[in-house]
Amino acid sequence: MLKRTARLVATTFVAASLMLSVAACSKGGATSTNAATAGGTQTLTLWTHNAGNKGELGAIQQVVDDYNASQTTYKVDLQAFPQDSYNQSVVAAAASKKLPCILDIDQPNVANWAWAGYLAPITGMDDILAKYLPSTVAKWNGKTYAYGYYDVALTWVTRTSILKKYGIRVPTVDQPWTGEEFMAALKKVKDSGDFKYPADMATGWTGEWWPYGYSPQLQAFGGDLINRTDYKSADGVLNGDAAIKWANWFAGMAKDGYMPKKSSADPAADFMNGKSAFLWNGSWTAVPTREKFGDDVLFAPPVDFGNGGKIGGGSWTWGYSTGCSSPEGALDYLKFASADKYVAKVSADTNNIPTTDAAAAMVPGFEPGGENDVFRQISKKFTVMRPETPGYPFIATTFGKAAQDILNGADPKTTLDQAVKDIDDNQKANDYFQQ
């Protein structure tokens, strides 16, 4: 009798302790508080999406180290995440109320996260941020929530020798190609048969590239993702005549053989191997293409399809969270990190456009007249921000799917009407994201 009870008790005890130890293990491994005090120095956690990106991660680490060395009240602790899972990590942390103090945010998500209450507004930095490129300062509802060190410019990468060979005019920032000029140029290249495809727009990429890369072309035709006067509806802008024109042009590019319907995973490599003559990509291709073609490579401004050339704007920006137990520390770091020399360092290490003129003068190539100055000019003149509304993630995925369907041969009018309906329903279902 006693033996039986003892066995029962022992078994239950072992089972229970195993279960608890498993639970304890998982708890101990996760990051707990975001600001802990240790002998007077407060630790602030900082999350970034740069794991694996040697250049950018090294630059941010440098900023953090300099900050920690410059004072003893706060100590910033950097944690790097891989980019693909970064957004989900932040959302998961927010759900369990374990957001880090300081974090970087992909600019189009700022409105969504600010509305959700993840981000706190940045105060006391207005004069500093006035010198930043407007596309790098993320605002929502009249408040500033994040700023970025750099921006990226979309461009038509080509070669001067190609333009010369087919008698195509060399465009300038003041006089970009018109729609007719561009299509005539593509036709010339296609008829010659020298390239597998005259153009390549990286249609093999997935995710945010579709709204980032292709909505500017929609805007160049005169359409838009949503009506920006009140952000309530996309009717008329996403399914109006201009948008239908864009859809027919976009589908026609693949149907008529001007670009691959689904490009390879590395369109820049295809361009450098002579498979395409015009590559629609970002200023990040400057380094490898210059290595291959030297001075021959040319970065042309976006095509004016009737409403002026347009490119996307906004990249990764820095802000701080509402759950931070030491907001003064976070703001102190953000102010320290916004200095021109850090803008210059991060931009130089990532080959992107520095956001302030002073920093641009410090980065070789981006000074006025430098070889990369063209990107700064393109960014200043042609940038249209992705709609700064908390509904952006929904708008982005809906537009991406609609564009894919159009490229695959769906009827533009019905596809865009459905996209408009979905976007309008979503904006309405969220009460237009009023605070």
């Binding site: 039986r4 066995r7 029962l8 078994t11 239950t12 089972a15 229970a16 195993l18 279960m19 989900q88 959302v91 927010a94 969504n112 996260w113 509305w115 959700a116 209450g117 993840y118 997935t206 319907k261 689904k262 390879s264 993630p393 929904f394 995925t397 809906t398 799917k401 894919q404 369907d405 695959n408 041969g409 769906a410 979503n426 279902a429 969220n430 009460d431």
Partner: protein, 311 residues
Amino acid sequence: MSTVEAATHPAPPVVRAHSHKRNRRSTSVAVAMLVPAAVLMITFLIIPIFLTFGLAFTNARLISPVPARFVGFDNFVRLFTNDTFWKSLLNTIVFTIVIVPVQSGLALGLAILVNAKVRGTNFFRTVYFLPVVTSMVVVSMLWLFMYQPDGLINVLLAKVGITGPDWLGDPKTALFAIIVLSIWQAVGFHMVIWLSGLQTIPAELYEAASIDGAGRWQQFVHVTWPGLRQTSIFILITITIAAFSLFTQVNIMTQGGPLDSTSTLVYMAVFTGFQQQQTGYAAAISLVFFALVLTVSLIQRYLTRDKGATR
């Protein structure tokens, strides 16, 4: 399988009480060992399933400062008037209808081949099983390259004089392409299960059949197939459930495919729930999916019930 026992002799009371106590003791130990697993399963599986069913009737969002609101059947109305849902449902059903007979039949054929008592069967068994242990993500990426218009498959077809289509870019061929690669990846697993079933069939039955003059095909129909009855029920149910949950290949290769031709219920749930942040809507899709799988499983269970057994 049970036989009717003539319980004619009443067991002496002492013996019965003894066995009762022994049963209770071993039951308590069994329960004690079961408790941690049961707690974990209830906490991380059963409760979230019920929460999902609750969420399906709200307008919950993934990211929102506003708490979720009860909206009744709105999500379901929206779902049933959505073209993408019906296409996803159709694709899921087509995929299952094709996969179940083809994959299980192919696996049975491979198992019979591998069961032959010749040298080298171990090698083939391993080779056929290799795709199973390769991650589906890796398999999808490899086949993505192979299916390109100028990829390996079309190059090989060109050598035979056939111009292959754009497998993943043509709405007519995309689902078929995914079916082929899914079968390639999973057939080894079911081959091994069939193999274990084959090996439980006593060899004497085959000897007896061949003595009676039965040919190879007759042996298969009258000896092998009846002996595989239990295995086939198990394989039928597991393949069906696995086929319903098609997601990874679609997510990596076609993202719902040209014009929704490869969209499946699970893919639609993940897309709307995570990328479009509509948790309530995705929960509604999950609920419909659950009902579908449950119905099909119950039908299968009924059709394959052991008609001769008494409980």
